[in-house]
Amino acid sequence: MIRRLVLSSLILAILAGAGLFIFTTGGATAEASDARKYNAGKIIDDSIFTNTNSMSVDDIQRFLDSKVTCDTWGAKTSELGGGTRAQWMAARGISPPFKCINGYYENPNNGQTNYGSNDIPSGAISAAQIIYNYSRQFGINPQVIIVTLQKENGLITDQWPTPKQYSEAMGFGCPDNVAPGAPACDPSYGGFSAQVYEAARHFRGFFDNRAGWFIPFTTGVNYVRWSPNSSCGGSNVNIENRATVALYSYTPYQPNDAAKNAQYGTGDACSAYGNRNFYIYFNDWFGSTQYSSLVRTAENPTVFLVANGTKYPIGDMNTFSALAPMGEVTFVPQSYVDNLANGALMGRVIRSSNGTVYYYDSGIKLPFGSCAQVADYGSSCGQSVLLEDSQLNRFANGPSMTNIVVTSSGKRFYVSGGVKREVYDDQSITQAGISNGVNVLSEGSVAALPYGNPVMRNDVFVKDRQTGTIYLYTGGQKNALHDSLQTTYASITTTKPLDTQSLNLMAQGTQIGGYIKSNAGTNYVLTEKGKLAVSNPGEWSANFMSLSDATLSQIPTVTAVSAPYTVTFSNGGTIYLVANATLRPITSWSGLLSINPNPNILTLPSYYLNDIAQGVVVLTPGSLVLAADNPTVYLVDGLNTLIPMNSFNQVTELGFGPIVNTTTSVLNSYTKAPSVLNAAVQCGSSQGLAIGGVVYPVSLTGASYTTLSTMNCSLLKWSTTAPTFLQATNGTIYEIQSGQKRPIASYGKYISLGGNANNTVRASNYATSFFSDGALLQ
């Protein structure tokens, strides 16, 4: 056990030691600037290079104070040998007090300084003030000057600088290779002020590509040497901006890998350190030399696109997203933002230095075909934002810009005249005579453009993409479909969506209900499965709306059914009869069959349930009805008539029944026939007498026929022939002739007359009473 513990401790100890070391190694360089990140083509952004607001005089002074502790009297040991620093200086005729840059004063007009003296000459100003003044005069970031002072001869951190370091402070006029007999530096530029002045002036001249200056470098491909030693060679560098042109023009060498890998240290024989040190000092002292193109300050959340020294505020997330190729947002000092010129709100139209105008979206740039097309997108060639070439190159080359844009969600817009017009479908484009070239862009690509009237063709159904409401677009208007028909139209028609904003721009037409008709006069009601042609529209409504044939053709037609119309609704099980523009509930299946023996029940949208007046229940035709407060029993004849009865003999013969109870109000809603029911009935042109449930076509002299409805007639069983013999309930058999009944005296006579079971009808006394009495047949 102990052995195991010891072993575990051992392993843990090793792992702990190793782990800590790895962690330490990783963490040590986390915050330091890294010379290996030196970008030969873009050492520093133009906008940083020219940010004159980065530091005030006090800021510069404070900075200089922070970077040096001056050995005014040279008491420390000289790093250059020769004893103390004072002794080294004395050997060269230089007396203390030695002035470090934070305590250095100089009169720019006559070059008098306070070096070697405790007094400040008249008219002399501090090094900080000189840096600031020329920074302002030439529009160069004072930090650029400070870093150049440091990289040329270490003046910023030097605790015991020589006078010559001031007179040649910026290395201006000092060639790297001195020819025999030539001075190390051009004395005409001697003096700290003159050096800063000339350097700042040249930086500006290089940056501006000043006319008459034969600047050796330019944006694009250049050959930059590694070192003043020409045998070391160099490499091609694609210089991306003017600030980098200026730096190479000032110091025409780039660091080789050895120099970069050495960070602040020494590389190899072919290493040059000027621009490397510029880069690394700047990063350490003043932050990144390369802000992203997208910047903001800690205090203000507004993000700007920075291009060519101008800041363009970004006003919305769509534009911000489209600028993703510009990289992440960098937090920058307020002074940097303040120093940039103010541009307009960032739009979607950009321009290259060669004048090509592009739309940008989804990481690509799409060249416009003309300035008129730019105007279609609500901008102008003049308003396009001029990007730096390096920024523009971050967008991949896309196809030519088109006036039709399809967004990633499938919306299609025709962009013209500064508005976006949503497109309904291909046919709409064709009808509008618009070119069908399309680019697929992001959802936000045209979000900033206002909506215009959509590109629509007539006689189509269109759905509000946001609310789902369906409209019929016809006659240049949107006609809302009734709310309770929305679901039905959605399921039976083809609809394409448009945004609410597009629909809001359409003229409003009339609401469309369930009654529609063609121009030719065919009337339809809308069922759940399509439009149903109705031959008797008055049963439904008095108002049928005319629609074009093109519209009607988009609504499927259901198989025609004939009246009476029995219907039900998707939200309920009740079956109704549609009659006289009312809905009358049918209370029983038998009642339904009595109305229509082969019922075809239509399923309707709920629209009709609310639109058609509710009628009384349908009493079953052929049934007998009785109300509690009315002693009269009625035969229900058809859908609207009640025939009073004075006995049950008639219905017994007719076969109607049974008796059902109803209410007085229902009875009152029916028409009452003027005469009581008779067993002699007339159906159409047919007359007959009901005997035992069968109606026989007989002609009765003086009889009163009850005319029945077609519906009731259809319930009757008709015989095709009149009865030849009747057998009364008392056993008497009659021969029927011409409405007369003649009793037959004997069975033999009956047989002799041809009587048999098939032609003899048993009849009640009531039925036989309809025939007049004739003579006895012996």
Partner: protein
């Protein structure tokens, strides 16, 4: 017959392993302390760094920065002590060619030098241009050559640029495509 004292051996082994473990832990800490500059390797004076103010670092200079500055100073002192090897050979460099402009640097300060461009191609007569020099800071440039593209036609031409002036003489050659 000998009876082995196994317990005694075992104890010795455990003690040895424990000592080894302690040593390893101690070495691990030494490595850690050295890397992190903690006791006993901590710096005598540890200044607390302040965050940059509006992007500017107002902390004292780091050792690395100080040493790099000192190196720059030393190089400056050495270069400006007029102790360089004299030479008549001036380096001439073609820095860029963006048709039709050819840009050339001369590693010398000479306001009145002469630069001569000779364009050569087999079967064609040489084309020559002469321009002056212009001082730009710590070196000079030839005052711009414009390649007469229309006269040359397409193809590769041998460009020879020669500087002659007060600083001496130098020459560079490069094949340039004319399109």
């Amino acid at each position: 017959m000998k009876i082995k004292n196994n317990n005694s051996r075992s104890t010795k082994k455990i003690v040895a392993i424990t000592i080894a473990a302690v040593l390893v832990v101690a070495l691990g800490y030494i490595g850690f302390a050295y890397a992190y500059k903690v006791t006993p390797f901590n710096d005598p004076v540890q200044e607390e760094k302040t965050a940059p103010i509006d992007g500017v670092d107002y902390n004292t200079v780091t050792d690395e920065q100080q040493q790099a500055g000192d190196a720059a100073k030393e190089e400056f002192i050495n270069n400006t002590d007029d102790n360089q090897e004299p030479s008549n050979n001036v380096t001439v460099t073609i820095t860029s060619y963006n048709q039709p402009t050819l840009r050339v640097t001369v590693d010398a300060i000479d306001e009145s030098g002469k630069c001569t461009l000779v364009l050569s191609k087999s079967g064609r007569s040489d084309v020559t241009q002469k321009v002056g020099t212009q001082v730009i800071g710590s070196y000079s440039v030839c005052e711009g050559f414009d390649i007469p593209v229309a006269d040359l036609g397409t193809g590769d031409w041998q460009a020879t640029i020669t500087y002659e002036g007060s600083a001496g003489r130098g020459q560079v050659q490069k094949v340039i495509p004319v399109q």
